[in-house]
């Protein structure tokens, strides 16, 4: 066993010092500063003056806050169901050696490579009420009545935007499940078949439980991503028409950078953070549980 020199003991700190400083200045510090800002009335120009809880009081009275929150929850609901089920189904289907498996896999996770801005633009064109693919197709097969204003109808717009997110997310979840399936011991699966379980029973009682670590990751990531959603809304509708597609991140951006209410914007982001924090801690707790002692 080598001597534990002083240098050895100091090494981790030496390794960590520069990255940690960078991280603290650009990530940790700002996070704390945002919390401070949320108690001020900073407008981006004058010196911030502390105003206590006023921003939060205003926030809880603001109808747009509730609309945005509801939209985020809609997003969350879609994200933890459709991509999860769809991704799992695809992973199960494509995990065998069927012809063209590579083509299918690539097709489904290719949207992940596109930036959200690109996705938003491509889909905005598809949603174009007059000449976009969707409405033109509907008209072609005689379903004119269904050709709506996808991004202009307040009842449809949020779902239309979420659809784009889901389109992109399914491939991602599929990849995670595919990786997870690699870790599933095939002997266990065979054993259950030998015991007479049908395919469905095997999936439900054997494979799914074995995939539960992946499911936890997927669900947590889906929740966080649905809370963070910004790009698609910003590019496709900017939160319109009249806030019906507003999400918390977009709401925050407009309040801070359009209405110059930076203190208020900070309060919104703190709420966002608290909502995410719950899930972050859940995830960390799970990570902690499965950590092996070093």
């Amino acid at each position: 066993m080598a001597r534990r020199t002083v240098l050895y003991r100091l090494s981790p700190y030496l390794f960590l010092i520069v990255p940690l400083i960078i991280y603290c200045i650009w990530v940790v510090g700002p996070m704390l500063y945002t919390i401070y800002l949320s108690f001020t009335n900073w407008d981006g120009v004058s010196s911030p003056a502390v105003i206590g809880w006023r921003n939060y009081q205003k926030l809880f009275r603001d109808p747009v806050f509730y609309i945005s929150l509801t939209n985020n929850l809609k997003w969350m609901l879609c994200f933890i169901t459709i991509p999860v089920v769809g991704g799992l189904a695809l992973a199960l289907a494509l995990n065998r050696n069927i012809p063209g498996a590579k083509f299918f896999k690539t097709s489904f996770y290719s949207p992940m490579v596109l930036s959200l801005v690109v996705c938003g633009l491509i889909w905005s064109w598809m949603y174009h009420p007059a000449k976009g693919l969707i409405n033109e197709s509907l008209r072609l097969i005689g379903l004119d009545a269904l050709a709506k204003g996808w991004l202009s109808d307040r009842r449809l717009v949020m779902w239309a935007i979420i659809a784009v997110g889901v389109w992109r997310q399914v491939g991602y979840v599929m990849v995670l499940y595919l990786a997870g399936l690699q870790g599933v011991d095939p002997t266990l699966v065979d054993a259950s078949r030998v015991d007479g379980c049908s395919n469905w029973q095997t999936i439900w009682h054997v494979i799914l439980p074995l995939l539960s670590p992946v499911t936890v990751v997927v669900v947590v990531i889906s929740i966080i991503d649905s809370l963070r959603a910004f790009d698609l809304v910003s590019v496709m509708t900017r939160g319109g028409p009249y806030y019906s597609s507003s999400v918390l991140a977009n709401f925050m951006y407009i309040e801070a950078f359009n209405n110059y209410k930076m203190g208020y914007g900070a309060a919104i982001s703190v709420i966002l953070f608290i909502l995410s924090a719950v899930f972050i801690f859940l995830y960390l707790w799970r990570v902690m549980q499965t950590e092996m002692e070093y």
């Binding site: 990530v27 490579v113 491509i122 910004f230």
Partner: protein
Amino acid sequence: MSARQFFRSPWRTAGYILLVIVTLLWLVPFGQALLTSFRSYDDIMIRGFFSLPKTLSLNSYREAWERGGMRYYLPNSFIITIPSLILTLFFSSLSAYALARFRFPGNRAIFFLYVGGTMLPFQVLMLPVFRLTNALGLYDTYWGLIAFHTAFQLGFCTFLLRNYMRTVPGEILEAARMDGCNEFRIWWQIMMPLTLPALAALATLEFTWIFNDYLWAIILLRSDHLKPVTAGLATLQGQYVTDWTVIVAGALIATIPTVIVFIFLQRYFIEGLTLGATK
């Protein structure tokens, strides 16, 4: 099993056909974007989306490239992404090594600090980082954006690399120590080469993420000629409001680098997504 064997069961065949249909549906957005980009806007507007194109040309691409600004937005994306990538991988591998192979007080806490950061809704950082960048005089410079990306990606990269480095057998490192190597040399000459697969995967993933960033580009940059493609596309949309063919052509141009990276480094991309995601 061979294809013939596979299709013996009618259920399987039906399922397969369903799969093909769904896959094709999934690719429709790409297809229609491509179709649109080769036509002229008037053509589509006057004669409809499903009309046979009167002319097919690369005009929209030319327009998006020249007057749309894609010709400087695209290089900008690289200028911002590559240094960020190199720096963040460098610093996170330093952190990861320390966290993975050393026992010291605060190890756990620092690790969770990094992990927590990966999940932050980045809007939380928006205003202070804007102010900070301003105060440092980095506003509207490449470096403002590079510095931020480097710092922000540290969380995820450290997390991933640390988990990976834990799987390296400790004996190799001990042997090196006994030979008298200092820690830095061990890190550089032993750990890093062993971590290469993870680094490759991470690099592919990070490239895509940083390249595709939109929010920070619009907050930390002001000048048009510094913008990366994501912000540039939004500007393009504002400029060519009615001309969807140009907008879509611009969008497709913007995807080329990430698609190339994806095609050649597919394997690493997938690895990157799954590294450490499953335990």
